[in-house]
Symmetry: C2
Subunit: 683 residues, 2 copies
């Protein structure tokens, strides 16, 4: 993916075709708008030189296209960069972060002054190496891992369409613009995202592809031969090709895009590192400072005479005017909002606040479930929870990667979200887990939507880069991951997660719930929906599980772990289990108590929440007697709870293909095995 090494780039022969083309472009008359673009170039050069690291090539190459977009098309007001009906701008090619910082700076945004630019890539600077959500309000999404930005943008564009259907065009009517690199389009996720965008006919999505023919290893021809425009046409996109240094051609293409009913890909043929007299058109300008000499020569070639980080007054004024060009539109919009009958609801949804009494129906369901004690799979329990939540929380938009009936993520009567009905609330994502997860990030970032997915737990591997970004960006997205162990049975080791719970638990800021029964599942859903500052995973069983909880008043899952069933006397052991193995722990407890060995059972549905409790609580719950962990997964990570003398009953490696009950026996994850292990130690 896109990043740097200062050395090792091939040297360029003087006056390569790219340099000849550059000369011709530089010979064109210099318009005021070209000078605005040059301001981006100069700041990108300066930022990277000051940091002694970074990627000047992309901002220098795409400055013209970006300038046309920002000054003539983008609906934006620097006075309120979070205005809900703004256009979204996504720098998918996140390594070119100086482009976005230069723009935020030039167009007069607070919080991106010259001091911030000077501290590009330094600790605590909002001008981080790659654009990071939360560092500056003008940054819509965190980019850098290639393919994520363009795919996240698809979710933003879907969110816009859905909210327009919900609240009407007078409140929601904006576009999504993306600058993408070669790498973005080579990544597999771009296929999933672009195919979805074509399928949904996201006409308000426009991607400017920095078609510079260069990636880190050199000319893209060494690894790519595809006809990318034909490929996107096959997805149902409108496609165009322009000279990426010709402002009027760019404007014409962008204008056409605003009229298209299809998403649009504009291949902007550019010269990477434009203006650098030696490094332009080479990988040498991609990911390393130009060096003082080449930097000076690049500025000279542009006729740029201002000092480092300086911008001539006339250019700064033009940029500041551009920064305000959405101001009037925003003020009209605010007037419309003030009078709008759905104003309160719109503001609530966009603020990420849950409706009043959002949890009344689920409380009712929990009360019913605790009385009826249904023996159902937790994936079914999840569906029951959704039946209470989906009507109460209109922001919840569900989906599945072609496993709707298996994930149980849809609720009766909820229509599909489609090109014909963007008001629908269930997305058939197709077999596109990664695209789904990235688009969900985009929905959450857009605001007004709490997206939840469905696929098998084992396929969390396909979504992992996007789950990680959700955690890093602290976005409320919920992944419903069913078939969470060998308990899925016959599909075998390719479908049986054994390492995935651990692999998800290790992602910072992600809450991983593995509920044991119908009540814990409802509690997990409550916590996931309430959690405004990060993503959650629900790992759910395929197989039926007995109701183990006899209370539903307090949300006990909120503490992550708790004593589900205390020992009859002084504990000789504590059986600690999650999800489907809590049933086994309880059966083992019964047998051990029968044999005169008092043991407690602890349910540990969410390690991350349990870790947040104080040590006294940990000690009280886990006890000082022998600790036995039971989970149909690998032991990795369990020693934290079990200590050096604990016992773990679980998987040792990959699963196998057989009916679930045979597998539990085969791998020795049974109450008998727990009983035997405890007896060996306590007798």
């Amino acid at each position: 993916m896109a990043t740097m090494e200062p050395d090792k780039q091939p040297s360029t022969p003087e006056r390569s075709p790219a340099l000849l083309a550059q000369e011709a472009i530089l010979a064109r008359p210099v318009t005021p708008e070209r000078r605005m673009a040059d301001a981006i170039r100069a700041l990108a050069i300066d930022g990277v030189e000051a940091a002694k690291s970074g990627h000047p090539g992309m901002p220098m190459g795409m400055a013209d296209a970006a300038t046309v977009l920002f000054t003539r098309f983008l609906k934006h007001d620097a006075a309120d960069p979070r205005w809900p009906d703004r256009d979204r701008f996504v720098l998918s090619a996140g390594h070119g972060s100086m482009l976005i910082y230069a723009w935020l700076h030039l167009s007069g945004h607070a919080g991106m002054g010259v001091e911030e630019l000077r501290r590009f890539r330094q600790l605590h600077s909002p001008a981080a190496g790659h654009p990071e959500v939360g560092e500056h309000p003008g940054i819509e999404t965190t980019t850098g891992p290639l393919g994520q930005g363009i795919s996240t943008a698809v979710g933003m564009a879907m969110a816009e369409r859905h909210l327009a259907a919900r609240f009407g065009k007078s409140l929601v009517d904006h576009r999504t613009w993306v600058i993408a690199s070669d790498g973005d389009l080579q990544e597999g996720i771009s296929h999933e995202a672009a195919s979805l965008a074509g399928h949904f006919g996201l006409g308000k999505l426009t991607v400017l592809w920095d078609d510079n023919h260069i990636s880190i290893d050199g000319d893209t021809a060494i690894s790519v031969s595809e006809d990318t425009l034909a490929r996107f046409r096959a997805y149902g996109w409108a496609v165009r090709r322009v000279d990426g240094h010709d402002h009027e051609a760019i404007a014409a293409a962008l204008n056409a895009a605003t009229k298209s009913r299809k998403p649009t890909l504009i291949a902007c043929r550019t010269i990477i590192g434009f203006s650098a007299p030696k490094k332009a058109g080479t990988a040498g300008s991609h990911g390393a400072p130009l060096g003082p000499e080449e930097a000076a020569a690049a500025k000279a070639a542009l006729g740029w005479e201002a000092g480092p980080f300086e911008v001539p007054d006339d250019i700064r004024e033009s940029w500041e005017a551009a920064g305000k060009r959405g101001g009037g539109t925003r003020r009209s919009w605010l007037k419309r909002l003030a009078k709008h009958p759905q104003r309160a609801e719109f503001e609530r949804a966009m603020a990420g606040k849950l409706p009043e009494r959002w949890d009344a129906a689920i409380a009712e369901w929990k009360a019913k479930a605790v009385a009826e004690k249904p023996k159902i799979a937790t994936r079914i329990a999840s569906q029951k929870a959704l039946e209470a939540l989906v009507p109460a929380v209109p922001e919840l938009i569900g989906g599945s990667a072609d496993l709707t009936g298996s994930n149980n993520t849809n609720v009766k009567g909820v229509p599909a979200l489609s090109a014909e009905n963007f008001g629908g609330r269930f997305v058939h994502w197709g077999i596109r887990e990664h695209g789904m997860a990235a688009a969900m990030n985009g929905m959450a970032l857009h605001g007004g939507i709490i997206p939840y997915s469905g696929t098998f737990l084992v396929f969390s591997d396909y979504m992992r880069p996007s789950i990680r970004l959700a955690a890093l960006m602290r976005q409320r997205v919920v992944h419903v991951l069913t078939h969470d162990s060998i308990g899925l049975g016959e599909d075998g080791p390719t479908h049986q997660p054994v390492e995935h719970l651990a692999a998800l638990r290790v992602i910072p800021n992600l809450h991983v719930f593995r509920p044991a029964d119908v009540i814990e599942t409802a509690e997990a859903w409550e916590l996931a929906v309430k959690r405004a500052d990060g993503p959650s995973v629900l790992a759910l069983s395929r197989q039926n599980l007995p109701a183990v909880r006899t209370d539903a008043g307090e949300n006990r899952t909120a503490r992550g772990g708790y004593v589900l069933s205390e020992a009859s006397g002084e504990r000789r052991a504590t059986l600690i289990a999650t999800g489907s193995e809590v049933e086994i722990a309880l059966a083992a407890q019964a047998a051990l108590e029968e044999a005169g060995i008092p043991v407690a059972v602890v349910s540990l549905p969410c390690w991350e929440l349990f870790a947040l409790q104080d040590p006294t609580y940990h000690d009280a719950v886990l006890g000082s007697a022998l600790r036995v962990g039971i989970e149909a997964a690998l032991e990795f990570g369990w020693s934290r709870w079990l200590g050096p003398d604990g016992i773990f009953i679980g998987m040792q490696g990959f699963g196998a293909s057989a009916p679930a009950s045979d597998l539990y026996k085969h791998f020795g994850i049974t109450a008998d095995a727990v009983v035997a292990a405890v007896k060996r130690r306590v007798n």
Copy 2:
């Protein structure tokens, strides 16, 4: 992805367009070859009925195309299914596993008798839920997670081209055939793989796409609108569309494919669950038994009168003849091999044996390095190791996902593998990590190649499904993953792995090396290359690291962990570190010894190998004093080595964008922090 739920499928109106089409097809004259296809259908029905789970729809739909392929095109001999110059057949749509089992059974392969079919999806049956490498020699690759098969096949086809360049067409001249589903082509990885296949012009790769318009959620139209043939044409493929139940049309298309210089995609328009009078053409036939009534009716519609798992003699004879059709070709090939000047070398390479004295040059390098003690990044140390290994081991084929200069995976003078020079030994994979990892699996499975990759450690997330399969299939592939911590600096948290070491360590059968210096890096390479039964990861630093090893005789990394520097007296603490943090541990040791506190330093470059040592060794190395873990990553998993009273110095969450030295200070991963932590506890 593709799997089952028995319930929840929409009921089909009688005589849907699919059923009408089916009637027309069934009305065609029944040829002997159609009856051979019907044998596959009948066995698929029987297997799924007996198992009470599985996927009958795909084998029933694709039986015709598969039969034409197997009987008229596939170069294969059931007498030796591992014959090196056989054609490779990949069932990318692995859920339709009964198709491959039925074929192996019918064509007379040992080890797939009727008893095995009767035990489809039962414990210890080679007829597992999805095809698993190692269960039967006729299974070329493990499939089930969609998109993997087709992408693995691209690697097989690349391997064929490379080995043909190395050994000549008289030894290596075979084709790769794939049956793929809608899901395979929706997955992002299919884009990466197909784009690579087009780029490399893999004319001997043919994909039969089961274009049945049905996925689990129903008609594919609910989630897909793309023109898939146009998309593949854009990748540089030849594309065709045929009636997937018309044997002569299929044969014509396959014949054309054998003449194409481009890879070929053949859209086989089929009816899923073909012959089932009610469920054909519906998702209801995809992933659940038809049920006795529908099963009987399907057989009746075919005119299939044999009992369950029975095959009429004439059909069995035809299939057995087909199973031997490659016999003559194989015998001629064996004769050519016997006389071939490169016979020994070919046999050695295909057997996965390393050349004599393969490690002489690296031993020499280690001796030199231990004397010179270069302070270099371990990624550079890896390049140095490769400079010794690549010339000595001709099977090593390297690559990078567009980060060649950063991963240091190429060696001077090694040419690129390209469509113009398949004999090259370095692959510019483009920005396609997932496709790279899957294709590498295909190369290893093909035999004759030991592939190694390059990308950043953080992007292991993009490759994870394929890394998992390599581990499950026990294939020798090596992933060189550089920039392995916050030590990469300014690129920031999107590029800084904090959870990836743990996330990789938890994959069963994967060896994760994080070497501390030039010697450990060479040792890790030796172990990775020698390891014939599974994949390895080398996590390597961007930043320079001092040489910490003073010996190079014994490969100490082979035990996973060892005492690098013993305490001067009775240990008060043991500092346990990996990779770049070993330097910190040594500095802390020096300061603590200076302060009169004897501490040892343990280097723990490979947890998996260390875990294999006996407890006595563990105790001796880790000691009974205070244990301190030091790793610029999250603590998850460390308690196993540290115990409940240990101290961990590392990351608490995501990283940040800043120069590396600032980050180490900011996050408190310093010798001073270690010293202070130890002093607090031992004083």
